[in-house]
Symmetry: C3
Subunit: 209 residues, 3 copies
């Protein structure tokens, strides 16, 4: 079980490292700055989660995460150098998969350490959103969470599904798969068809008093 969760964690880290490398390419970063941005994107969410839960940060005792980040960054660099166009849609796709991975991992870890369901959903959303958020803030891009298209909403929906599955005593692996799929599906559909869930009247003009 622990080994299996470790592999999931490594996969999430690899996917976010790819998203970080794609953004570094877009920003023309040089040298190891690319690897640093990949690492920040990949470990940012999980680091925040572990610091808030007061657990040892997952990558401090285990260098395998950094081997995965360096490997994922190198593969992406080589692939990008043989291409001539910047694949913006791949960046969004990698970001969506990483979001779904870390959302479910954050929920699961918070529940294991005794958080209540509402807190677990909040921690899952933070874990999923934070890595991409600091990547965008560092790179002075508009954070995806601001661009709408149900970014945070996908996390919260996926978290609720995961908690419900756990509540009905379904196998943890199936719960995680359900939460992961819901998060990813909502996010991908929202990107494709520009779904949004308007909270405020769209015709409300913003008039600064």
């Amino acid at each position: 079980m622990v080994t299996w969760l470790h592999w999931i964690d490594l996969a999430g880290v690899a996917v976010f490292a790819i998203a970080g490398t794609l953004m570094a390419y877009k920003k023309h970063m040089d040298g190891f700055g690319v690897v640093v941005l990949a690492a920040v994107t990949a470990v940012g969410g999980g680091t925040l989660r572990d610091m808030i839960l007061d657990l040892p940060v997952f990558w401090v005792q285990d260098p395998s995460f950094f081997y995965v980040i360096i490997f994922a960054a190198c593969i992406t660099i080589i692939w990008l150098r043989t291409q001539n166009t910047f694949p913006l849609k791949y960046l969004f796709f990698a970001d969506a998969i990483g979001l779904a991975f870390f959302n479910v991992m954050g929920c699961q870890k918070a529940l294991v350490y005794g958080a209540s369901p509402l807190v677990a959903i909040a921690l899952g959303t933070m874990t999923g959103v934070f890595g991409g958020l600091i990547r965008d803030v560092i790179c002075r891009e508009i954070p995806l969470v601001l661009k709408g298209e149900l970014y945070a909403t996908a996390c919260i929906a996926g978290g609720i599904v995961y908690i419900l599955c756990q509540h009905f005593a379904i196998n943890t692996m199936l719960c995680m798969l359900a939460g992961f799929s819901i998060t990813l599906m909502i996010r991908l559909c929202a990107m494709k068809w520009h779904w949004s869930l308007p909270i405020f009247n769209p015709h409300d003009a913003v008039k600064d008093e």
Copy 2:
């Protein structure tokens, strides 16, 4: 005493959640992104304070903070939908109250856990400033701490007053009230009359060499 501090904490969280929702409205965020921004603004400062003091983060074991955030965000959303103008002055007002609340709470908690007065003032200022700061950074607004008008200065002055009151063995509740009032008053006056405390000669032109 503990119960009473808990209510103060809840009030500070509610006020900052309102400030976060107002900013989300200004930025036309959709779906649960609004609640996420409200939550980040509301718990950001206290989370940083607890992580630095190496205490359990205040909201992890206690879901009531998230009920308060969701409730405050919903009330603000409903209120905004019935209005036609964006109340920028309410955003600044809510931000000032939250700043004063968290500044004093940060000072108090740091002192209880054995920090020296200077460190307590620094931690109080961080607690007060951080939630609004990450809200502004995420939303790509100019952080209020940069806009001048004695933002950080109000926190430091309030912290000094709180520490002095404690030093003369005044009742903690009165100390907190004094620190809170000083922070809020300086900040509100500075906003109203555009007070500032120039550190550098205003006629110093910035000439990049």
Copy 3:
């Protein structure tokens, strides 16, 4: 040994406090906002390092760091008020020295607490980069790590040299001096002669699909 490391830490904090004050001057901050930005720049990297390593944050039990920050900020303010030009090159120079200091300190502390070499290099780089990064993010400047000129690369190279020296059982003080010098030299040379290490083909136009 402990005393000696303490002095090194104080020196790094002072240098980054100067860099923070210089940036506050450039942004025309008023009141204690200047001191707050100096403090954030100076303690940001080390705070992140200690929170990730799950150690007590270095400045919480020891107010001397804040005396140093206030002293360094005051000296810089007085010096700037007697000048008529903004010394942008001094900002970069102070930033480079702080980067080298904190990079080596982060590596050293991570190794002492049992991290593997790869993790130590990553933590050293984070410690060095983080203070300046949040200073630039708060001030809405382009982060230096994005501007290229081997910012992160200097840290990683310095970290590798430090780890290698340790591996050959050289005296810790000499190891730190070697890591510090390499980081500083690469960064200063890269700034002076605009060195960069292109990772992506420079003629790759970014075509958003």
